[in-house]
Symmetry: D4
Subunit: 223 residues, 8 copies
C-alpha cells in the first residue's frame, strides 16, 4: 500500500489557501512522501503538529530546507521570507502557556505573507495589563485572542474593539478546565456580540480565518 | 403517612444558621405542616424556591404573615425588619436576567440581619461599567458576583478586590450556556486567585457563605 | 427594585455595534422599561428572542412602532428601511427548520443596513443543490451557513469558497443531535481550513461577526 | 488459573462468522493459548488490535505462519489467499490517518474471501475529489466510509449512492474531535437516509456487517 | 418569505429512496406547501414525526388522502397498498413502549413495498421469549431490533442470526437511560460482530438501511 | 510530615469488614507504614490496586509474608488459608479481559473466608455458553457478574436466577465503551428487576457486598 | 395492531419475582389490556410509574379493585394485605422530597409480603439526626438509603452498619444535581466498602434486590 | 521570541495577594526567566505544580535558595520562616492520597504567614474519626476540607461548624470518580448551607480564599 498519500495541490487555486500537512497521526513514511511531492512541484508547504520526535525521525534529505520551530511544532518548506507589510492582525495571549498556540497562528500568517503584532501575558486577573493596550488593539482590523482556563479574555477584548475577534481556546488548565472545553464554551457563550471561535488549540485555523476575512480572496476572484 | 415532615430546629443552635425550607419538590401539605411547626415554636422561617403557583396553593391561614417576593421566589415568616447596619456585602449582577438570583441572596442576608449593596447590569461586554464601580466594590469585605452566559465577570471582579469573592453562576443562557454549566466552569477555572463558587442559581448558599465568613459564628461560640 | 434596568447606549460609540435586547429571561416590566429608555433617547433598537407570547404581553404603547417578526422572534424599534446596497453576505440554510435562525441573522444585518442573499434548503443529502449555487456563493465576501443535524454543510461550503465562512449550528435534530451539540462540534472539528463558529442558534452573533469583518469599524475609527 | 481461555469455535457454525481474537487487554499467555487451540483444530484465525509490541512478545513458535500487518495491527493464522472475485465492497477514507482502520476492514473482508476497492484521501474539504469517484462508488452494493474529525464525508457519500453505506468514525482529531465522538455523532445524526454506523475505529465490525449484508448467510442456511 | 420550501424530488431518481418529510420543527404552512408540491407532481409522499396536534392543524384539503397513523406519527400521501411479497425483514421489539418506533419502521418499509414480520415484547429479562423465536428470526435476511433501557437485546439477537442486524435504540427509560444514550452505546459497544446502528428513535432510518441492503438499488441501476 | 498514615483498625469491630488498603495514589513510604502498623497489631491485611511496580518498590522486609497476585494487583498479609466451605458466590465473567477484576473479587472473598465458583468466558455473543450453566448458577444465593463492552450479560443472568445479582462493569472496551461507562449504564438501566451495581472495575466492592448479603454480620451482632 | 401486549406471567415461576407493569410510555389501551390479562388469570399485579393523569384515564372497570397511591404513583391489583412479620428492611430518606421514592420501595416490598421500617428526614446536614438512629438501623439485615443532592447519606449509613446497604439516588436537586447524576456517582464512588446502587429514582428495583438478598428464592427452589 | 515572560508584580499592591507561578505548561527557560525577575526585584515567590522532573531541570543557580517540597510540588523563593501565630485555618483530609493537595494549601498559607492545623485521614467511612475532632474544628474560623471519591466529608463537616468551609475536591478515585468530577459535584450540590468550593486539586486557590476571608485585605485598605 506504500504511503497511500494523495495531496490536494488543487486547493490553492480553488479557495486561495493551500492545504497544510497536519502531521499528527501520520507515519514518517507518509510525511516524507508528501515532502517529496511538494519538492517535485516546487511548491512551498506548511506542516503543523510536527512534534520534535517526528521531526527528528525524518531523514536529512527530508529535513533539508525545512524551517522547523520546536515551540509551535510547525515547519515551513521552501524559500520564504518574513512578511514585509504592516501588521493587520493582533495576536493576544492570556498566559505564558498559550504562547505555543500563538506561534502556530503567527507562522501560518507569515507563510501567507501576513505580519502580526504579538501581545502576551495580558490575562484578566490583572486587568490593568490589557487596558494599557486598548488603543493598540483597536488599530488592527482582526484580533486573534488565545486563552485557556476560563477564557474571560475573549469577552473583555471583544467588548473593547470593533474589528473581527477570533477566539482560540487552549487546552491549558486542570480540573474542569482540562482539555480546553471551559475556555471553548466561554468563547461560544460570550456576552460580547460578534465573537467567533475555532477548535481548541487551533492556531492554524484562526490564522486561516483571518486571511479569509482580510479579503485575500478578492485578488483571487479578480484574477 | 401524613406530611412526613421533620424539621431541624436544632441547626440554629449548632451552627448559627437556621435551616431554610427548600420548597421545590415539596407538596402543599408538607409546606403547610412546616409553617405550622414554625408558628408553634414562634420561630421565624425562610422559604426558598416557592413559585407563585405554589404560594397561591397555600391556604389563607398559611399565607398570613408571610412576606412573599415573587421575583426571587422567597418568603419570610415572622416579624422581621430590614437590616440596620452598613452593608458589608456587595451583590453584583452581570445582566438583567440575573436579578432574580441576586434578590434571593439579598433576602437571605436580610433575614440574617445583614444589609447588602446591589450593583446591577455591569457585564464585561461593556467593561467601562464595572470599572466605574471599582472603588465602591473594594470597600466591601465580601463580594457576591452573579452571572450566567460565559461568567467572565467572576474573574474580572476577583482581580479587582482583596476581599472574599463568591461566584453564583446562573442558568441564564442558551446553546452551550444552557443550564449554567459554562458559567460554573468559568468560576472554577478562573485565573484570579481565591475565587470560590456555589451551585448554579444558588443565591441562598452564597448568602450563607457570606454570613459564615463575616464571623457571625464568633458570637455563637462566645455565648 | 422597580425594573432594575441599565442599558448600555455607550456601546455603539465604543465598538460600532449597538447593544441588542436579549429578551429571554426578562420580565415584561423590564422589556417595557428598556423600550421607554430607547424612545427617550430617540435611539433605534433591536430585540431578539422575543416570543409571540412575550410580544403579546407588551402594552399597545410599547408595541407602537415595533416591527415584529414572529418567525425569527425579533423586533425592531424606530424608523428604519431595508438596506439599499448590494448583498455582501450570503445566508445559507440546510433545511426548512433552520430558516427561523436565518431570519434572525438577516434582520440583524438589515438593522445595521447590510443586505443579504438567502439560499435555502441546500443540505448535503442532495449534494447537487449546493453545487448548483457555487458561483453565486463565491461572489460574497462573507457566507453564513446555518445547519442542524450533523452539520456537514459547514465543511462543504468552506471547501468551496475563499471568503470568510461563519457557521451557525442549530438545535434542529433529535437523539444525539438534540440541542445542537453535534452540529456545533462538526463546525469546530471541520477539516476545511478557516471555518469559524458561533453558539447554537445564534444568528444574531453571526450577523454581528459579519458586520465586524466587513470593516464597518473602519469608518468608526476614521471618524 | 493458567490462561483461563475458552474459545467460541461454535460461532462459525451458528452465524457464519468466526470469532475473532480481540487482543487488547489480553496477556501474551492468553493469546498464545488461543493460537494453540486454533492450531490444534486446524482452524484459520483472525486477530485484531495486536500491537507491534504484543506481536513481538509472542514466541517464535506462536508467530510461525502468522501473517502480521503492523499498520492495521491485524494478524491472520493459517493458509489463506487473497480473494479472487470482483470487489463488492468499496472502502473510502477521508484522510491519511484513517488508512489504518481501512486496512483492518479490508483484511477482515479478505479473511472471509471478499475483495474490496480502496478509495483514499477524498475528504470533503476538497469536494472535487469525491465527486470524481461517484460512478465508481455507485457500482458497489456496499460502501464502507471511514472518517474522523467532523465526519462530513458520511453524509456526502450516502447522498450519492443507493447501496448500503456503513460509517466507521475514527478517533483522528483533537479538541472537540478527540476520541472520535464528533465523527460518530455526525454519522448518527446524518440527514442522508439509511446510513448506519459502528463503533469508533471498528473497521472489523464494519467488514462483518458488510459480509452479513452480502448474503453469505444464505449459503449457510441452504447448506 | 412565504413557506420557503424547496423539495428534493430529484432524490428518488438519484439514490432510489424518496425524500421523506421530517415534520418536527416545520410550521403548518411549510408542511402544507410540501403537500401541495407533491400533489402537483402526483408524487406519493411519506411524512414522519407528524404529531396528532400538527396533523389536526392541517386543513381538510391538506388531510384529504393522507393515511395518518397516530401511534407512529407517520402519514402517507397518495394511492398505496400493503406490500404483497413475503417478509424479508423482521422487526423485533423489547418492550411495549418501543412499538411506536417499530411502526415507523414498518410503515416506511411498506411505503417502499416491503413486507415485515413484527415480533414484540421479547426483552431479555425473560430470555425464554426470544429463544422461542430463534428459527423464525433466522429466516429473515435483515433483522431490525428496537430496544430502550440497556439495549441488551441487540447483542443477543446478533449472536443468534447470520443476516444483517440493525439496532434502533429508543428513548424509553429514565435515570441514566433517559433519552436513549445507554441503549445507543450498548449497540455501538456490542460484543456481537457486525451489528450496526442508527440514531435514537430512528425507525425511518433503519427501514431505509434495510431497503438499501436488500438490493433494491440493483433494479434501479439496471433500469 | 512523615507518612501521615492513620489506619482504621476500628472498622472490623464496628461493621464486620476490615478496611482494605487502596494502594493507588499512595507512596511507598505510606504503604510501608501501614504494613508496619498491621504487623505491630498482628492484624491480617488486604491490599488492592498494588501494581507490580509498586510491589517491587517495597523493601524485602515489607514484602515478607505478603501473598501477592500480579494478575489482580492484590496482596494479602498474614497467615491465611483458602476457604474451606462450599461456594455460596458465583463469579461470572463475559470475556478474558475481565478476569483480572474477577480475581480481585475472589481474593477479597477468600480473605473473608468465603469460597467462590468461577465461570469464565460466557459473553452473550455466543448465548449457548451461559445457557449451559443456568442450573449451576441458580444454586448460588449470590452471583457476581463482571463484564465490559455493552454489559448485556448483566441482564441475561439476572433474568435467569432468583438470588442477589451484583454487577461489576469493567473498563474493557474502546470508542464509546472506553473507561466502562457503557457497561455501567447497562447495569443501572437493566430491564431485569433487582440487579444492583458497584463502581467500574470494583471487584473488591462487589465481594464486600456479597459478604454483607450473606449475613456474616449476623454472627457479629450476636457475639 | 390492537394493544400489542404480551405479559411475562412465566417470570414468577422462574425467578421468584413477578413482572411489574412499568406504565410510563404505555397507552391507556395497553395498560387496560394487561389488567384484563391479569384478572383473567386471577393474578395479583403491581403497577409502577402510573401518574394520576394516567390512572384517571382508566375506565371504572379497570380501576375496580386497584389500590392506587398517588404519592408514589403505584397501584396494586388483587386481594392483598399488609405484611405481618417483623421488618427486615429499613428504608431511610435524606429529605422530604425523597419520600415519593421511599413509598415506591415500601409498597413493592409489601406486595411481596415484606414489612419495612421507614426512617425519614435524616440528611447529613444535621448529622445528629442519623446518629440517633444508629442502633435501630443495625438491627435490619438490609438497609435501603434514598437521597438526592450530593448523596452523602449513602456513605455515612454504610459506614455504620454491617448489613447490605442499597442506595437509591433521586432526581431531587438543581444545578449540577439536576436529574440525579451527582447522587448516583456519590453512591458508586463511595469510600464505604460494599455499598451497591440501582438507577436514579428506582425504588422498585431496590426493593426487588432486597427481596433477592433476603433469600426468598430459597423457598422457591426447595418447593 | 526568547522566554516571552511578563510577570504581574503589580498584583500584590492591588489585591494583597502576590501572583504565584503556575509551572505546569511552562518551559524551563520560562520558569528560569521568572526566577531571575523575582531575584532582581528581591521579591519572594511561590511556585506551584513544579514536578520533580521540572525542578531537576532547573540550573543550580536557579535552584539556589528555593525551598522545594516534592510531595506537594511547590517551591518558595526567598527568605521566609514558618508562621508564628495561632492557626486560624484547619485543613482536613479524607484519605492519605489527599495529603499532597493539603500540603499545597498549607504551604500557600505559610507563604502568606498563616499557620494551619492539619487533621488527616478522617473520611466518613469511619464516622467516629471526624466526630472525635468536632470541638477542635469548631475553634477555627475557616476550615478547608480536602476529599476525593464521593466527597461526603464536605457536607458532614459543613453541618458541624459555623465558620467558613471551603471544599477542595481531589482527582483521587477511579471509575466514575476519576478526575474528581464526582467530588466536585458533591461539594456544589451539598445539602449543608454555605459550603463553597474551588476547582479540583486546587489547594492553592483554597488557601487564597482563606486569606481573603481572614481579612488581610483590611490592613491593605487602611494603609
Amino acid at each position: 500500500m506504500a504511503a497511500d498519500v494523495i495531496f490536494d495541490f488543487e486547493r490553492q487555486r480553488r479557495i486561495g489557501l493551500s492545504e497544510a500537512v497536519f502531521c499528527s497521526g501520520k507515519t514518517t513514511l507518509q510525511i516524507s512522501a508528501i515532502l517529496a511531492l511538494a519538492r517535485g512541484r516546487n511548491s512551498p508547504l506548511l506542516l503543523t503538529r510536527l512534534t520534535p520526535d517526528a521531526a527528528a525521525a525524518l531523514s536529512d534529505a527530508d529535513r533539508a530546507g525545512l524551517d522547523y520551530d520546536q515551540h509551535s511544532h510547525t515547519a515551513i518548506l521552501g524559500p520564504w521570507q518574513p512578511p514585509a507589510g504592516a501588521a493587520q492582525v493582533a495576536v493576544v495571549t492570556a498566559g505564558t502557556s498559550d504562547v505555543r498556540v500563538a506561534r502556530e497562528a503567527i507562522r501560518t500568517l507569515a507563510f501567507h505573507d501576513q505580519a502580526a503584532t504579538a501581545i502576551t501575558d495580558v490575562g484578566v486577573a490583572g486587568l490593568w495589563r490589557i487596558l494599557a493596550r486598548e488603543d493598540e488593539l483597536r488599530r488592527h482590523p482582526v484580533v486573534i485572542v488565545i486563552a485557556g482556563m476560563e477564557g474571560a479574555l475573549f469577552s473583555v477584548v471583544t467588548g473593547m474593539v470593533g474589528g473581527l475577534v477570533i477566539a482560540v481556546p487552549t487546552s491549558t488548565g486542570y480540573g474542569v478546565a482540562e482539555g480546553g472545553r471551559t475556555a471553548l464554551h466561554s468563547a461560544l457563550a460570550s456576552c460580547a456580540p460578534g465573537l467567533v471561535t475555532v477548535n481548541i488549540d487551533n492556531g492554524y485555523g484562526a490564522a486561516c480565518a483571518a486571511i479569509r476575512a482580510l479579503g485575500l480572496h478578492t485578488a483571487l476572484k479578480s484574477s
